[in-house]
Each structure stands twice: as C-alpha cells, then as structure tokens.
Amino acid sequence: MQEGTTADVLERLRAGDPRAFEDLVTAYQHRVFAVAYRMLGSRAEAEEAAQEVFLRAHRGLADFRGEAKLSTWLYAITSRFCLSRLASGQARFERARRDQAVLADLPSPDGGAPEVLERREAEATLHRAIAELAEDRRIMVVLRDLEGLSYDEIAESLGLTLGTVRSRLHRARMELKERLQKVLA
C-alpha cells in the first residue's frame, strides 16, 4: 500500500468507513503475520498475534497521530506484542514450537541440482539460526533484513536509540554468519 493510499485509508478509518479497516487488514496482513511468525515460531500463534495486532490498531486508531508511517505504527504494535508475549510465561514453550517450525522448514530430500540443494540447506540453517537468536536480536534481523525497515523506523518502533539498534543488529548478523559459516565451510 502506497503512503498516499495509506493517508486515504486513515481518513476513511477516522470517518468510520467500515471498508477502510478491511482495506488496511488486506494490505498489511502478510507483513504483520510474517513478523509474528518469525518471532513466535508457530503459525497458530502468529495468526492469533496478528489478529490481536489488527484489533489493537482498530481500537487505538484515535491515538495514532499520523506522525509515523502507518506501516511503522503497525510494525511497532506487532513487535511489542510479540516481545511482550515472549517475555511472559506464555513464552516457556516457544523454544519447542520454534524447533518444530524449523524442522518444517528443512529441505525435502527430493534431489535436484547440487547448488539448489546447497542453497536449501543454507536457508534451513538460517531459519534455524534466526529462531535461535535472542528475542531482542531476532527482532532486529526480522525488521531490518526481512521486512526492510530503516534504522530510524526500527528505533521508533521499539523505542530504542539508533546506537542500540545498530549494535544489536550487527551482533545478530555476525551470530548468523558464524552459524552459517560452520555449515557452508
């Protein structure tokens, strides 16, 4: 959804147009779901979280001043909700769930060219490595490298300084590199 369209959706949402909320969910569903899935590690949890994010956005629309992009605002709600959920007691079972999700992402032994197999193996290792990152580092990789947010947007979404974002992101990437290097060496 383009920002011009976003402004239009916002206007319609504030005017009480019921179709506007549907447009918003349709436009952002995959982005919100993808972040939730990467953070929580299970499709069911991710769907539940994404639904809650949109409901919170619906309720909190009056508080959205429009200074940030609508997408950044939604990413902020998603990231904070997932981190909060992981920090609570509900996160105790997350590791097992993530492991199951990672196993599901492993390449199937269906043959193919050696380079394709090697790439699939590398992706599977990467999935596993992302899942095993600490939450505060994982969210950096997810927002920056998978969702393409800028450093400023990440800092705004999570309420962090630019320096914190920079250092956490770099450590997360180096950790992924180290894990990947062992497999690809």
């Binding site: 779901f33 639904q51 992924l176």
Partner: protein, 341 residues
C-alpha cells in the same frame, strides 16, 4: 584500522552508513587482509541469503476472521464476557465465593439459637410428610453412669442443668409416656416406643397441633380465636414468643409436672384459656399419641393461679416445687390422657 575495527563496521558498510573517509580506511584494510576478506564475503553471503528468504504469508481467510472479531458483539455476549471471562480466573473465584457463602450460612444457622429454633419449628411442609419407621427404636435402658460417661463433654452449664432436670423428671415418673415425652423434649434423649417425631403424626388432631396456621408450633394456643384476628396483638405475641424462644435452648424449666386428663381436647382448650387469661407464653409443644408436652413461661405473680388452673383441668402433679424464679417461671407440663380418671 585493525581487523576488529573493520569487522565491527560490516553492517555499517552493508547498509551504507559509513562516512566516506572511514569507508576509504576500511577498504584499504580489507584489500591487504585476506582473513578480513574471507569474513566479509561470508557476511555478505549471509545477508544475501537473509534478503532472499521468502516471506511467510497470512493464511487463507485471515482478513475475514479479523473483520469478524472486530465487529461489535451483541450486548448480552459482552455482558457475559465481562461477568464470566476469562473463565480460568473468574470461575474459581465465583466457586470460592459460593462456598464461602454456603459455609457462612451453615455457620450462622448452627451458631444462632433463634435460627436453630426457627428451623425446628418450621418442620416439614404438609407435602413433605414422610412415614415413620414401622417399629420405632426402643428406648434404651437407663444407665446413668454409663450414659454420662459415653456422652460428650459439655461446657454449657445451662444445657447441663436442663439435661439433669429432664433425667430427674424422667426417672421419677412412673408413666412410660411421660418419660418418653420428657426425653423427647431433651435434645440428647432417644426416641421412645410409640412416640413419633413432632413433624409427623398419624392422627389428624396431632397433625393440626403440630402444624399451626403460622407454621409455628403452639401459636394456636397462645393466640385464642377472639384475639387472633387482631394483627397488632398477633405481632406482639410473635415478638414475645420469639424472645422467649431465644432463651429456650439455654434455660432449664423451673417446674416440671404431670397433668393427667380424661379428655385431651377439652384439656387443650382449657389450657389455652388459662394461658391467655394469665398472660403466659407457650414456647414449645410436642404432641404424641398418648400425651403432649407443653413448655411455657408464666409471669411470676401468676404462677400460683396457674397451678390452681392446672389442678382444675386435671390431676396436676409437679415433680418439684417452685423455689425461686425471676420475672417469669418456666413450666413444663406433661399432659397425659388417663381414661376413667
């Protein structure tokens, strides 16, 4: 710039956040350090893989589910949600509250004499009539010492006094009906042969006596027909009776006696008139097949007249003389029918 400095800036270089002068120094180190070159290539490959990962997509029907969840629910469901949900929190709390209220009610019922008396007096409704056992339990042989030893320890002096008076009366009476009535009026006493529970009677007249119009035993006698229609007098009678009933479980009768009559109905009427005339209050009535036990309170000044009135109704034999009493005298009259008297 050292190797560590160079590697610490991998992300800055990749994201184009390194200043131009720093970038030149970084590049110069990389060109002459093969170890850093290998690290940088590995870093670049990791980022390339990351950026190439497919994005997970929301499942089919996700938008519809969100829209359905966002629709305002009807008010009964919202109310139910606020009252009952989350179930894991509110259900245990509501169950605990229910248990507390139940325990509190039982505690109050057992600790409050008025409540105890009210429960006893109310008895079963006419529809709740239950047959008594065909063979009533026999009266156990009197073994005062053994019975006392087997009885639980009692700390309430008034109840002890009441029990001893009852035992004394029962022991001194030759009449088995009188003994049984006396025992029945005492909570610890066992049922006697031929004596049924107050709540149950095979005789119509006994059912009438056991279930007065107000559902309170004895009120029929305390309120004669001419007075019963006056609400204020009824209220005063109820209040006096309630106050007297509250003392019932803790005060032993000062006088217990046996009233032998030929016609029980006539004796009941005469006793009712006597009670009304002297301003006495009937506390309890326990009907039985061959007799009846009536407990009442008589004003101290009227006791002599009351005793004369009983002697006029039938053969009044008090088991003990009135020695001293406060304002009212508690009297237990055991009415026994003696044909051909």
């Amino acid at each position: 710039m050292t190797c560590d400095d160079v590697r610490a800036r991998f992300s800055d270089v990749a994201d184009g956040r390194l200043a131009a002068r720093e970038r030149i120094a970084w590049q110069a180190h990389l060109e002459r350090c093969t170890e850093c070159q290998r690290e940088w290539k590995s870093f670049e490959r990791t980022l390339a893989l990351l950026h190439g990962l497919p994005r997970h997509r929301a499942p089919e029907g996700f938008v519809e589910r969100v829209l359905a969840a966002a629709r305002p629910r009807p008010w009964p469901r919202r109310l139910a949600h606020h009252v009952f949900l989350p179930l894991r929190v509110k259900l245990p709390m509501e169950a605990a509250a229910l248990v507390l209220v139940a325990v509190g009610a039982v505690y109050l019922a057992h600790r409050t004499p008025v409540m105890q008396e009210a429960m006893r007096d109310s008895g079963p409704a006419p529809g709740d009539w239950q047959p008594a056992p065909a063979v009533p339990a026999p009266l156990p042989a009197r073994e005062p010492d053994a019975q006392r030893a087997a009885a639980p320890p009692r700390s309430d002096a008034a109840r002890e006094l009441k029990k001893s008076v009852s035992e004394k009366t029962a022991a001194s009476s030759p009449d088995p009906v009188e003994r049984a009535l006396t025992r029945e009026a005492t909570p610890e006493a066992a049922p006697a042969p031929g004596i049924t529970a107050p709540s149950r009677s095979d005789q119509p007249e006994e059912r009438l006596a056991a279930t007065p119009p107000e559902g309170r035993g004895g009120a029929r006698i305390a309120e004669p027909p001419g007075v019963a229609s006056a609400p204020r007098v009824q209220d005063a009678g109820r209040i006096a009776r309630r106050e007297a009933v509250s003392r019932l479980s803790t005060v032993a009768p000062a006088v217990t006696g046996r009233l032998a009559v030929e016609n029980r109905d006539a004796a009941e009427r005469a006793l009712a008139e006597l009670i009304t005339r002297l301003g006495a209050t009937e506390l309890r009535r326990t009907p039985a097949e061959n007799g009846m036990l009536v407990e009442l309170e008589v004003p101290r000044a009227q006791y002599a007249e009351f005793a004369r009135g009983l002697a006029a109704i039938g053969g009044w034999t008090p088991h003990e003389e009135l020695v001293e009493a406060s304002a009212d005298v508690r009297v237990r009259v055991i009415v026994i029918r003696q044909p051909g008297r």
